[in-house]
Symmetry: C2
Subunit: 214 residues, 2 copies
Amino acid sequence: MGLSPRQEKIAEMVRTLGPITGEQIAERLNVTRAALRPDLAILVMSGMVDARPKVGYFYTGKTASNLLTEQVSRLKVQDVQSVPVVVTAGTSAYDAVVTMFLEDVGSVFVVESGGILAGVVSRKDVLKVAMGGSDLHKLPVKVLMTPMPKIIVTSPDESVLTAAKKIIDNEVDSLPVVSLSSQGKTYEVIGRLTKTNIARLFVELGEGRGGELL
Amino acid sequence: MGLSPRQEKIAEMVRTLGPITGEQIAERLNVTRAALRPDLAILVMSGMVDARPKVGYFYTGKTASNLLTEQVSRLKVQDVQSVPVVVTAGTSAYDAVVTMFLEDVGSVFVVESGGILAGVVSRKDVLKVAMGGSDLHKLPVKVLMTPMPKIIVTSPDESVLTAAKKIIDNEVDSLPVVSLSSQGKTYEVIGRLTKTNIARLFVELGEGRGGELL
């Protein structure tokens, strides 16, 4: 958001001299306290400056892009996640790929009975063994999956930002969205968070269609 | 940004009755014009409401998330793009996959002499023919690539938002960043924009590290 030159001046004053009262700011600028009121209101509204009774105005260190940070950090994984696509551990690599094509996903989650997460298989994993000349029909998917506990996971109430950071930092295309099983030692797969979800969210926020989410 | 109940009320009034003068708003709220000034200033600053001399206040249709829109729409593809990974049209599918693994990319661009874009090959394309039992060594990449002019492209000065929308709408993982060749009829490949670039940008903006970009 664009500040007027006087608002910029006041923000700078609060930053260097704060806490400072409205009267002191008015004096320094040689204007009345009343004339300052709209400017101060805007600075407080923008989040850059805050006011404390009997103390005065002080600088919060926030800028316009922090506003964005605060909005984005309110979004949870469950607000943007997709349904998970799963296969069982005994499925052949071939059938896992067929599932990938049918569902048009880049990876499938391998589960044990009860939907317990056992592994993740990506197009890249299958391509690697196909290149090696293995017969995908004879190869069970568990041989090529990334197994637990190596899998990076997320949960429905984690912030999308934290989950997106996991995707980037670990160089994966998707994360299983999990909840702790009743035994508390295994994960039940309940969703899927992908780079596509993040890119779609980016577009929605950028187009101002994130209103329902934010 | 949070509006006070009175500011919400004024915004709603401007939306339904605008253009409306400050005096008219003051009358309806039964307050003085001066008392309204800070609220109106905030609404104008927020971009939700605009003022035109001799006309009054009118609603712009913008919301807090539009602020984000405006910031994001300033970002260009060239600010976030990656280097392109290319192979020539005569390369075997096998060697194209080797390049994908070495460079750790999900798709490679197929070029003719002079870096002219001829096609795109993804992991998914290769996996499809590998599943069909084709010998990847004997298959030139041009047989399985998505050829021009079917390829969706972007340019360095297109907004990241528009490019991200192309990725989502066309369900692709990446876009070649191109410039028109000197003849003006073909595209020269100069970069690569992927879902990873978008997800990384999302994280940077969300962490408030987009300052240099915005």
